[in-house]
Structures are given as structure tokens and as C-alpha cells.
Symmetry: C2
Subunit: 147 residues, 2 copies
């Protein structure tokens, strides 16, 4: 477990306790997966990963806990139109993603030109901006070669 993952996990536990919610084994395990997994896993992927340690854990439990963790502000949901959300527990705040249309891989790119965008939008539209969503879609290096 990396330093960042440990830190993220600790923050989640902290918020959980502060909220007077229970620390069930399933819940802690879900938090652990979210804090260390870099793949932006889907609910299905999280469930699959947990089957080893919790045979028979319910998808409903995974969904309910992710919702809860989201309400604590500790996981970012990256939902797509066609259904099938992915989750980022390492950086639970708005940030850009690059999604491979072929294999579904998702990475967090560097994007210096992002800086003043939100400010520019707020000034131009009169909206009070709360969050953003920026996704680039394309083919990852591996899938490009495979063609």
C-alpha cells in the first residue's frame, strides 16, 4: 500500500468515524480498494476484487457504500452515458481524464492549460461553478498499435 493510498484510506476512515457511521469489514474493504486502485474501477471491478476476501458480498452493498463514500466527498464518480460508472478514490475532486474508446482504460493526464478555465467560464456565463467534468476520448497507445 503506497504512501498516498494509506493517506487516502486514513482520511476516509476519519470521515466515516466523524459521521458516526459503522466500520463494517465490507465497508472498510471497499474504502481500501478505492484508496489504492489506480484503474478507476467500476462497481463490478470492485465487487470482483472483493469476492476473494468476502465471498458473496452483494453488488447492492458495493453500490450503497460507494454512494455513502461519495456523500462524504471521498470518491469521484465518473459516470458515462451508456451506463457503467467508474470511480476514483485517490483524487476525489474534479480533474480531467483520458478514456480509451477501445479497452476502457482511464488515465489522469497533466493539463497545464486547465488553470483559468473555471474562472473564465464563471465570468462569461454568470453561473456559480461547483464542479466540472473533462474527458478526452481516443485510443490508448496499446490499442493504437493493435490496429
Amino acid at each position: 500500500m503506497s504512501r498516498l493510498a494509506k493517506e487516502r484510506y486514513a482520511v476516509m476512515i476519519e470521515k466515516l468515524k466523524r459521521s458516526g457511521l459503522k466500520s463494517t469489514p465490507q465497508r472498510l474493504a471497499i474504502m481500501r480498494v478505492l484508496s489504492e486502485n489506480k484503474e478507476h474501477p467500476s462497481v463490478e471491478a470492485i465487487n470482483k476484487r472483493l469476492q476473494k476476501k468476502f465471498p458473496g458480498i452483494s453488488q447492492a452493498t458495493v453500490y450503497r457504500n460507494i454512494m455513502l463514500i461519495k456523500s462524504l466527498g471521498e470518491v469521484l464518480e465518473i459516470g458515462f452515458a451508456g451506463g457503467g460508472s467508474r470511480y476514483d478514490g485517490r483524487k476525489p475532486y474534479s480533474h480531467p481524464h483520458v478514456v480509451c474508446l477501445e479497452c476502457g482504460k482511464i488515465i489522469d493526464p497533466e493539463l497545464a492549460s486547465l488553470r483559468d478555465m473555471t474562472r473564465e467560464i464563471a465570468a462569461g456565463s454568470g453561473f456559480e461553478i461547483k464542479s466540472f467534468r473533462l474527458d478526452f476520448f481516443g485510443l490508448c497507445p496499446a490499442c493504437r498499435n493493435r490496429k
Copy 2:
């Protein structure tokens, strides 16, 4: 019908004919709504709008035709996680949106700083970028005042 709307509508008809597909009244009406409606309407909104002229038009017909128009590259689908896509037939290419979390209003903002973003991402990630999706979420001026 504005000049832009007329133009968009003409392009859609053109592509439709070029593809050897039929010009049914329902299909033409859907294209017309998509080419002139600035509200980024949902399927439900489009259906509602058409009920006057086509009592009993099926949601399925609207869905099927939007899919078809999308496959012609003539409408941009703005799909949201919680379900409920919105459509933009006036600018059927990737461009940013500002979405009101309260009333669902969607506008097309100016965003000069968008310029080199795609290039920057492609260079940094090795991905071949095909499209992007940039949404800002917040409160529109009207909803801000209402608080």
C-alpha cells in the same frame, strides 16, 4: 426558423438522402426540432414538442431517429450518468457546456483557453484523441437568485 437552423436542417436532409434512407414525416420533424432548438432538448422534450403535430408518436421512434442522426454525425449526444441524455443538433461536434444543477439549463459558453488542450493531451498521453467532453456544473443566474 433562423438562418443557422435552416442550414443545419438542409445538411441533415442532404446526408439522409445521400444515405438512401427514407424521409418520413416523423424523421423530418425530429431533424427540424434538433436543428432549431437551442435548449439542448432531451428525448422527452423532443417527443413532447412533436405530440402537437404527431399525436401518438412513439418515444421509440424518437430514440431510433436520434440514434440514426447521430450515426450520420449530425447531432451531439450529451449523456449524463444518472440517465437522461440531451441533444445538440446545432453544433454536432465536441464543445463545452455549462449545466445548471438546479433547473437543468444548458448553455454553450465561450472558452478561449480551450485552444490547445487536445493537442496538449495527445502529446502528453500518447493517446490518439477522437473527441472530448467538457461540462461545467453550477447554478445559473436565475437559480442563484432564487436562493
